[in-house]
Symmetry: C2
Subunit: 227 residues, 2 copies
């Protein structure tokens, strides 16, 4: 489902160039469950944003679900993102003035489902992450871990092909974190490809393959027996 060749992203800051990601060549099949690890600033989020079609590379090629992403126009790209990819951002990126329910309904607005169906799907996603009792709270009325779980619910509500989760358990206590990993496992069991960025070795053990980054480069790619 994912094929990259020499994928790279430079950022220009003033007179300097930051090589956030360089020479990423990797192949990921449908239904895989991967963890991405590496030090702070090593390029993990940059990589996730490229894979999620939220950013354009400055070098290399990216084929997603068989299509060369650089050949898609803006509308086609937006549709691909909306229908096929669920993204959990490292900083959640929730709409501050919408409730948890409103935030989770957002990806469903693209499609043709009626209002009642959208509401039911969003409620079920929120219950799946343990927030059934908080659906009308706005982000300011939620704890850090609850906001993270709203972001997770939003990423899975549209039943995407691929879920990209950038540190999805970072704000969660270990028990809640385990529940979220079990949820990702169930989704993966239904065929959804899952890529998690994590700093937590425990979380990485839920995956079947670990990619390691350092200074913008992929330095390790290992199959592991999941726990």
């Amino acid at each position: 489902i994912i094929e990259t060749r020499g994928l790279g992203r430079d950022y220009v800051v003033g007179a300097q160039v930051v090589h956030a990601l360089e020479g990423l060549t990797v192949s990921i099949d449908r239904g895989e469950f991967l963890a991405i690890m590496g030090p702070s600033g090593s390029g993990k989020s940059t990589c996730m944003q490229l894979l999620g079609c939220l950013d354009t590379p400055t070098a290399g090629a990216y084929l997603f679900d068989g299509e060369d992403v650089s050949l898609l126009d803006r509308d086609a790209l937006a549709e691909t993102r909306n229908r096929k990819i669920g993204f959990v951002f490292q900083s959640f990126n929730l709409l501050p003035r919408a409730s948890a329910l409103g935030n989770v309904e957002l990806p469903l607005m693209y499609g043709r489902r009626d209002r009642r169906t959208r509401k039911e799907m969003a409620e079920r996603a929120l219950e799946a992450v343990g927030l059934g009792a908080r659906i009308h709270h706005t982000p300011a009325q939620l704890s850090g871990g609850q906001m993270q779980r709203v972001a997770i619910a939003r990423a899975l509500v549209n039943d995407p092909l691929l879920i990209l989760a950038d540190e999805p358990t970072g704000a969660l206590d270990s028990a809640t974190g385990q529940e979220i990993l079990a949820l990702f496992h169930r989704l993966n069991g239904r065929g959804i490809t899952i890529i998690l960025v994590t700093h937590d070795a425990e979380v990485a053990r839920a995956a079947r393959r670990v990619l390691r980054f350092r200074d913008g480069h992929l330095v390790g790619d290992e199959r592991i027996a999941p726990v």
Copy 2:
């Protein structure tokens, strides 16, 4: 340095009342190093905001550094916060249009130091958290862990009496997280009282006392031998 009696905070959401914190009675001496743990939504951040004088309780009393906080007027409260407390927010709360340097200089604007001294103090704080090479980046040009470290640098730049850090290593890989804990240890060695909220048992082991929360209540208070 901290004395609370029956401290509580209710939130009203629509027709419901959320008892985010209830009946907190605790005493903390100057120079202590504590960890606060508990499930997502158990009241940890609510407690930290009350201790940091960023929010007003709906019940109970809070004496900080010998003063009844409810008797301080708005200016006195703001000055106490600025001079005596350093706060690392769970969601960082950086100014998006200021650089890392500008963000860290912010607490220093209250005092009487000149521009050059402020700049030097802010640079040293950023070097202490390993961000010497990123001082001119704005938050959008920083990784998640780098933003977290800017928030940490800002909390310590003013040499406060008390540092309240809400999950300060949540976005950091374990090596960088260890460096931050070592930094908190050095600050504690200079007499600064440190309270960290964490979900990570490894991080909690750096403290000498652990407070456990559940459903808004303090359910455990244990001295531990630090590791």
